[in-house]
């Protein structure tokens, strides 16, 4: 079941694009459109996490936050363009879980959301990813194929993780590098090729050949 995220944001473009971004990352999204009835919309949607702007028409995000805290411990991320320390302090005092200032990088926002969700809902750890009989265990950093396993380095694991998550579709090299940068692996296009060929060697050692295909001028496909 995907996590549900409620967006409380008065700028229509940001609201719409945030919904796009979040649903693209596998979340179910809802947005408050009638700020007078924000609380009832919130209760009806029952989100796992709330993105809350401070400057709203009607009641401010701070007021909304303290009202929410009266009945729920759902994680609240303040997303705002005001970055005074006073606002940040207020957000902490009122029970906000994170404070992100505009203009934020979408990747940073997504990382923050993921880490808050992990902390608030400590479900069973990352599931093993499975594709064409190959099984990736992100927990232990191993890849299993027909009873044989191979150890992966942290970087190789990240690359494979992205490919497994997008199994069956072509992943462009730029998108892959984007993902790696978001995960604090700062490599360029050439280094990516080196990593990929090392992964191929490792996979071949357990009999998994031609697992990663290169699509000319498009990217990689598993």
């Amino acid at each position: 079941m995907p996590y549900k995220i409620l967006i409380v944001e008065d700028d229509p473009v940001i609201r719409q694009q945030l919904q796009l971004l979040l649903s693209g990352s596998g979340y179910e999204t809802g947005a408050v459109t009638d700020f007078g009835a924000a609380l009832s919309q919130l209760k009806a949607f029952a989100p796992h996490l709330i993105l809350l702007d401070i400057g709203l028409p009607g009641a401010s995000g701070f007021e909304l936050c303290s009202q929410i805290r009266a009945f729920s411990q759902v994680p609240i991320v303040f997303v705002t363009s005001s970055n005074t320390d006073l606002d940040e302090l207020n957000s902490i005092l009122l029970g906000g879980d994170a404070f992100i200032t505009k203009p934020y990088h979408p990747a940073i926002l997504l990382a923050k959301i993921a880490s808050l969700l992990r902390r608030a809902y400590p479900a069973a750890g990352e599931d093993a990813l499975c594709w064409k009989e190959a099984v990736l265990h992100p927990e232990s950093g191993r890849l299993e194929y027909q009873g044989q396993t191979v150890e992966l380095t942290r970087n190789e694991q990240k690359i494979l993780y992205y490919l497994f998550r997008h199994a069956g579709t072509i992943c462009s090299r730029a998108d892959l590098v984007d993902f790696l940068w978001d995960n604090q692996l700062y490599i360029d296009d050439n280094a990516l090729s080196v990593h990929i060929s090392r992964i191929r060697e490792k996979l071949a050692s357990i009999g998994l050949t031609d697992f990663i295909q290169t699509k000319h001028r498009q990217g990689y496909l598993i």
Partner: protein, 335 residues
């Protein structure tokens, strides 16, 4: 000298009177001895009057001048001076008070204007952040080669916006910062993430060494400083740019090194890089230097008690060293 010049008419008048009196007395057949005696007494009194007057006046003027020296805001002088002694002085005092009043009004008006302007700038920066955010989200949701270029541009825009905000705020220091425990590594990664597209567009090689250190500071300000440093490293890059982040721990201190292999700063410019508005040789060559970035970094560092040093060799690169004090009693209290 001026004093004696001022007294010249009085002295001349006296001498004229004395001569006239002597001539008159001599004409009315007084003894020459009597006339000489009268002249001597007259001259003696005149000299005594002049001497005492000069002494008293000098003392009074000296005390006035020293009072003025001691006063910090000299435009308030008319308020602290002793009351005037002569009619002439009271007129001058009134003139000074009039000057003071119009001056104070002018200052107040300028201050009001300044404050309104600064508030408008801050407000404007808050407003501009919404469309920037929307643009970033739009690019992120429609990824392509162009949108990546666009995102790199948006990162530059964000740099300048932040710079303006910190500049507007640097003038009034009453805004306190939120000091907390932060992982040095997290801030570095955050700063890199905020410059992701800029760094990738310029194909900057990034190296982040292990940093287990924890520091106590304001993470937003630190991130701003790192953003400015990264911005500089990109702006003054060499042909195959590289940027390295590393930490060094010493007893009581943690250093964060930001090292690039860019153009470097000429030795002659080095002592002045933290000056407001200083652009130097590199700045003039690049044409988009404001001379504000490093000045703001220095200001923030002083406010947050972070040591900021810059080492550079022309053609080799620049290393910026941020030094954090690890306060024993903070860790002590937290146990």
């Amino acid at each position: 000298m001026k004093y004696w010049k001022d007294r010249l008419p009085a002295v001349l008048l006296n001498l004229l009177g004395l001569t006239a009196l002597s001539l008159f007395l001599l004409a009315s057949s007084s003894a020459a001895g009597t006339v000489l005696l009268i002249a001597a007494i007259w001259l003696g009194v005149l000299a005594a009057w002049l001497a005492v007057g000069c002494l008293l006046e000098r003392r009074r003027m000296d005390s006035l001048l020293s009072q003025a020296e001691q006063l910090e805001e000299r435009y308030l002088l008319p308020e602290v001076l002793p009351p005037p002694m002569t009619a002439e002085e009271s007129v001058y005092r009134r003139l000074m008070q009039m000057a003071e009043k119009s001056m104070l009004e002018k200052i107040a008006a300028v201050q009001r204007e300044n404050k309104a302007y600064r508030e408008y700038i801050e407000q404007w920066i808050h407003e501009i952040k919404t469309p920037i955010t929307a643009a970033k989200l739009l690019c992120e949701n429609n990824r392509s080669g162009q949108s990546r270029e666009m995102l790199a541009q948006l990162e530059s825009i964000t740099h300048y916006t932040e710079q303006a905000l910190y500049y507007a705020r640097s003038e009034h220091t009453e805004k306190d910062s939120l000091i907390r425990e932060i992982q040095l590594e997290d801030v570095v990664h955050q700063a890199i993430a905020e410059n992701k597209y800029l760094l990738r567009q310029q194909q900057v090689e990034i190296l982040v060494e292990e940093m287990p250190d924890v520091v106590y500071t304001d993470d937003k300000s630190l991130c701003f400083i790192l953003n400015q440093l990264i911005g500089n490293a990109v702006k003054y890059r060499s042909s195959s740019p590289r940027l390295r982040f590393a930490a060094q721990t010493e007893p009581g201190q943690v250093h964060l090194l930001v090292e690039d292999n860019g153009l470097g700063i000429p030795a002659a410019d080095l002592p002045r890089v933290f000056e407001k508005g200083f652009t130097g040789q590199n700045g003039r060559a690049v044409h988009s230097s404001t001379g504000i970035g490093l000045y703001l970094c220095k200001q923030l560092c002083e406010k947050l008690d972070i040591g900021l040093e810059i080492h550079s060799r022309e053609g080799t690169g620049t290393t910026v060293r941020l030094t954090f004090t690890v306060n024993d009693y903070i860790t002590g209290v937290q146990g």
